[in-house]
Symmetry: C2
Subunit: 434 residues, 2 copies
């Protein structure tokens, strides 16, 4: 059989990795796919020093690739929303299949892109858009197809996890570690996407859609970053038997679907609490399978390329299939997507870690307990530290049982009005992830 012809748009880190993996493992890949996968054209404005493209035709114009009649599959690796969207839609228009690693594009414009792809009978594959080389989209979409998914929770931003790991292991501050991460090239010069959880929210949006069969709704995801986390809370969490991780959590409840990214206390003995450095992991809980976990490198040149190439093999196999009988883009048939609503964060349910800075007066603890109890909030554990020498304040640290967030918001407002409570109350969500 003739090789499948692939056009790569963008020869940066992932583009270069994809080219290299396709070249190095050409024989192994052809033994699996039953035919070769050949890069017939590359669109890039800059050469990639880590990538010897040899005689492969290069163009500076990405649209040359989508208009090239020779090309069967377009690999979109230019990133960003606008031009990438135009490129992908044009490729679909021209009847070409698409493989992309672009989480922002899929999370924000995926519904439109998949509708167009369906109309044209082509595939848009996006395994590389979430958790790099970990085949977690395939696991959820196909491997757990017999389950009603209850929830998923993931460490899906390597930069954020590197920062939290360093803060915990070395007692360093957020600012210090961020600076180092930028110097090491783990974090972008503008770290907003990583540390504010936007990148994680893009990925979570995608995972939630394929888990629950809902349209992509990035604009409804709740996002809270890690920039305000202090080593104080990292250490108290540790003392209580928890680790703090920046988690994306999606949970199905009767009222709707929770879709939230935020720092989270996890019991220290959970496998996912021990995922360190830049590594990623996603837990998925299904009604039949129980809890499963998928772990690996969430970013990087060749781990991400691994996912791109897996998609290329899948698409190659699907070239001859009936478009109506393929794995649907969002795991569920497009006509069967659910309109179960995304819940606002105030309606989400979680346990909470609270740190209250109180004056060293008798009765503070009773006041705190009473405010929580009036709002129906049960306390799981509580820890009151000795008065600190400098300021005469006693931190009260407690973990609540699960409760709707609105009640915690109300409690915090009441707590902050107490004369004996100084500063803002620190609130961090807690998940057991059994």
């Amino acid at each position: 059989m003739k090789p499948v012809k692939v056009g790569i748009c963008g020869l940066g880190t992932v583009g270069g990795g994809t080219f290299n993996v396709l070249k190095r493992n050409a024989e192994e890949i052809a033994r699996r796919a039953g035919r070769g996968i050949e890069v017939a054209q590359i669109a890039t404005r800059h050469p990639n020093a880590k990538c010897d493209t040899g005689a492969t035709p290069i163009t500076a114009d990405i649209f040359d690739v989508v208009n090239n009649p020779e090309i069967d599959i377009v690999v979109e690796l230019i990133g960003g929303y606008t031009l990438a969207k135009e490129l992908v839609l044009k490729a679909i228009e021209n009847g070409k299949h698409v493989v992309t690693a672009n989480k922002a594009l899929i999370a924000v414009h995926g519904n439109e892109i998949f509708a167009k792809a369906r109309e044209k009978g082509v595939i848009v594959a996006f395994e590389a858009s979430v958790a790099g080389g970990i085949p977690v989209i395939k696991a959820i979409r196909e491997g757990l197809a017999g389950n009603r998914i209850n929830w998923l929770a993931g460490i899906i931003n390597g930069t954020g996890n590197f920062i939290l790991t360093e803060m915990r292991e070395k007692g360093r501050t957020f600012e210090e570690v961020l600076k180092e991460a930028q110097e090491l090239g783990y974090a972008e010069a503008d770290p907003t996407f990583d540390v504010e959880g936007i990148d994680a929210a893009h990925k979570l949006t995608i995972l939630a859609s394929i888990a629950f069969g809902i349209p992509l709704q990035f604009d409804k995801a709740y996002t809270e970053g890690i920039a305000r986390l202090t080593t104080t809370d990292v250490n108290y969490a540790e003392a209580l038997g928890y680790r703090i991780k920046h988690l994306g959590v999606a949970r199905r409840t009767d009222a709707g679907i929770e879709l939230r990214v935020h720092p989270t206390l996890i019991p220290a003995d959970r496998l996912i609490a021990n995922v360190n450095g830049v590594m990623n992991a996603v837990m998925v809980n299904g009604d039949a399978v129980g809890s499963t976990l998928y772990y690996g490198a969430g970013a990087g040149m060749e781990p991400t390329a691994s996912a791109v190439v897996a998609d290329l093999v899948d698409v190659t196999r699907a070239l001859t299939t009936d478009p109506n009988n393929r794995v649907p883009h969002l795991a569920f048939q497009p006509d069967s997507l659910s309109d179960h609503p995304i819940l606002p964060i105030s309606a989400c349910e979680s346990a909470y870690y609270l740190r209250i800075q109180a004056k060293d007066h008798p009765g503070v603890l009773a006041q705190v307990a009473s405010i929580l109890s009036e709002r129906g909030i049960n306390i799981e554990s509580i820890m009151q530290k000795e008065a600190e020498e400098q300021d005469g304040l006693v931190p009260v640290i407690l973990v609540t049982h699960r409760v709707v967030e609105q009640r915690i918001d109300d409690s915090i407002a009441a707590l902050e009005k107490l004369d004996d409570v100084v500063d803002k109350v620190v609130r961090i969500r807690v998940e057991q992830l059994n």
Copy 2:
């Protein structure tokens, strides 16, 4: 579209679970697959109390199912080699697709079964045969299709892992825990398959074939059980920073493929070292993706059913596809399987934990070091305990660098000839699993 008709052969734990999951999640599954999956017939001699089969036709003869013209997919859940093989071959003969959870059948008769399936253009799906609900076969076969797989290592027998976890956490002996596991129903009355590693070797054989593209060669797998492990070694391992797990390891080397199941020391901070109780986990290392890990319930009614149903959805989607363009049974095209040989255990390479019971004489350590050094074996760490009061023996515990097993065998033979060494030398393999 009309529902796909499925016949379940065997209504034990997994059969009952499969029926229940298909029934409970019927709507969710149809939303994914684009059509219903309906159990049209069940073959069983005994009702399953956990399974309300309602109006589903029941027969006592499994061959009624494979001869039923209404049935599209036969689910083989009777277990064992002989009758199951006959059943599966007959189903294929009749042009039916097959889904099975039978690791022994696939590991021992898979080559013959897949050849027959290819001839008839049908699929034999077997995700449930390895690691229960964890979609690890799909991950390796499809999700990592761009990689040259270097090695994989798995905790793939829940009973064995439960025993080792209890031994470590509670200081109990192998015999004690095994007895309890039998009472709890985790272990069979005849525990040989689990504790001697035969069950794990079946699963490892399957994983190695799809990872490296080699025919199934169960008879060449090296198997060593956990029955001789003592709490002494569990504790020394702990003191050296390791955990002991019963691992299946498959590794590709230039000389051939290592295929071995044995107790293994793993650094305690590895994620897989922290997989406890009856849970399973498989690490897979590919040249592009690096190390990945897949974790979940490796057995049980519904976790295994989860994998069976995922296969049913896959087969349902593949009903209309070109048989030559499907995912090959062993991940690689049947004509492209490799004849890279399976290495005998003496040619496998590993690091080693050795425990030598020596008399408390000066110079013993020097003799030990000299025997190892003469055979080119480097010592990574060594620990000599004080003489134990009762018998005046000093245990010498050491971990070597990686070396071919033959050299360790030679060294042990030489060590056991020393006048100052009493008892057999205890030897346990060590893997870093980076």
